[in-house]
C-alpha cells in the first residue's frame, strides 16, 4: 500500500465532487438548490484543471465561472424565484426521453473514451511493446506523475504571449518559409469586441422598460 498515487487520489476526489453535484443539479427541482449544486460542481471542475497542470485555466474557471457567471445566475434566480416558479416539475414524458438519452449518450461516449490505448495514462497504455527500458521509464512516470504534471505546466507568460501573437513553445527554426509561428492575436481581438457587443446588448435587453403587465395566464 506504499505506492498510493496522491495525484490519483485527488483526481478521484474531485471527480466524485464534480459528477455528484452535477447529478444533484439534474435531480433537484428547487432552482436555488440547483444553483448551489452548480457552484460546487464547477469548483470541482476547477480542481480537476489544477490537477491537469492548467493552473491559469483553473484560476480563470474559479474567477469567471464561479465568481462571475454564477453570481449572474443567482441574481437571475433571486429576481425571478417567486412562488410557483421556485420549483417547476417536469412531466414524466420528459423524464423518459431524458433517461433514454442518458443511456444512449453514455453507451456511445464511455467506450469511445476507453477505445484509444494512448489515452489510458502513462503506465497502462504501451503494455504490448514493453522493453525493460520502457518499463523503467513507465515505473518512473508512475511513481511521480504529480512531478511530471507539474513539470509540464504551461506558464501564464506563454499563454499571454500567444494571445498577442508570439509563440514561445514552438521551435521557430522549423518554419522553412521564414515566417514566425502564428499566435492567437486575431481571435483575441475578436473575443474582445465580442465581449463589448455582448455587454451593450445585455444592458439593452435587460433594462427596465415599463412596469410589468398583469398576467393573462392563470
Amino acid at each position: 500500500m506504499d505506492n498510493i498515487l496522491w495525484h490519483s487520489v485527488f483526481f478521484w476526489a474531485f471527480a466524485v465532487i464534480t459528477c455528484g453535484f452535477a447529478v444533484m443539479v439534474v435531480l433537484s427541482d428547487n432552482i436555488v438548490r440547483m444553483a448551489v449544486a452548480l457552484i460546487f460542481s464547477l469548483s470541482g471542475a476547477a480542481g480537476l484543471f489544477l490537477l491537469a497542470g492548467a493552473d491559469f485555466v483553473g484560476a480563470m474557471q474559479l474567477m469567471i465561472y464561479v465568481g462571475g457567471t454564477l453570481v449572474l445566475l443567482i441574481f437571475g434566480v433571486m429576481l425571478t424565484a417567486q412562488g410557483p416558479f421556485i420549483s417547476l416539475k417536469a412531466g414524466s414524458g420528459d423524464w423518459i426521453i431524458a433517461v433514454v438519452m442518458v443511456g444512449l449518450s453514455l453507451a456511445m461516449l464511455l467506450p469511445m473514451a476507453w477505445s484509444v490505448p494512448d489515452w489510458h495514462g502513462p503506465a497502462m497504455g504501451a503494455s504490448e511493446t514493453k522493453t525493460t527500458k520502457q518499463t523503467a521509464l513507465q515505473e518512473e512516470a508512475e511513481a511521480d506523475q504529480e512531478t511530471v504534471v507539474v513539470e509540464h505546466n504551461v506558464s501564464v507568460t506563454e499563454i499571454g504571449l500567444s494571445l498577442v501573437g508570439v509563440r514561445t513553445d514552438l521551435n521557430q527554426e522549423d518554419q522553412e518559409s521564414g515566417q514566425l509561428p502564428e499566435g492567437y492575436l486575431l481571435p483575441f481581438e475578436i473575443v474582445s469586441v465580442h465581449l463589448l457587443v455582448i455587454l451593450i446588448g445585455a444592458a439593452y435587453l435587460a433594462r427596465a422598460k415599463r412596469p410589468r403587465k398583469p398576467t393573462k395566464y392563470p
Partner: protein
C-alpha cells in the same frame, strides 16, 4: 484504483458524465434559468476535455498533446460561456418582465 496513474481517458469519462448531466438538465427543466445551468454544465465538460488533451503527462505519446493551444481554447470557451450567460439571462429577465412567468412551456407566442 488509487495506484494507477491518471490518463486522458479518466478525464474524458468525467467530461462525458458532465455533458450528459447538462443535456438532461436542458431537456427536463422547465425553468429558463435551469436550462441555462444545463448549458453551463455542457460547456464545462468541453473545457475539461480541452485541458485534459493539452497535458502531455496523461498519455503515452507525449508529442500528440495539444500543449498551449488547448489552454488558449479553454480560455476562449470560458469567456464565451460568460458572454452567453449574460445575454441569455438578459433574455430570460425580459421574458419574465413581459410574460410574468419563467416557465419555458408557456413561451408559445411565436407558435403558428
Amino acid at each position: 484504483m488509487f495506484t494507477q496513474p491518471i490518463g486522458v481517458a479518466h478525464y474524458l469519462v468525467v467530461g462525458a458524465i458532465l455533458f450528459v448531466c447538462g443535456i438532461v438538465c436542458m431537456t427536463t427543466k422547465r425553468n429558463t434559468i435551469g436550462i441555462l445551468m444545463g448549458v453551463e454544465l455542457v460547456l464545462s465538460a468541453a473545457i475539461l476535455n480541452f485541458v485534459a488533451f493539452s497535458q502531455p503527462a496523461f498519455r503515452v505519446d507525449q508529442e500528440a498533446s495539444l500543449g498551449i493551444d488547448g489552454h488558449v481554447f479553454a480560455l476562449f470557451a470560458i469567456v464565451l460561456a460568460a458572454a452567453e450567460a449574460a445575454v441569455a439571462l438578459a433574455i430570460a429577465l425580459n421574458y419574465y418582465n413581459n410574460h410574468s412567468t419563467i416557465d419555458v412551456d408557456r413561451a408559445q407566442d411565436l407558435q403558428g
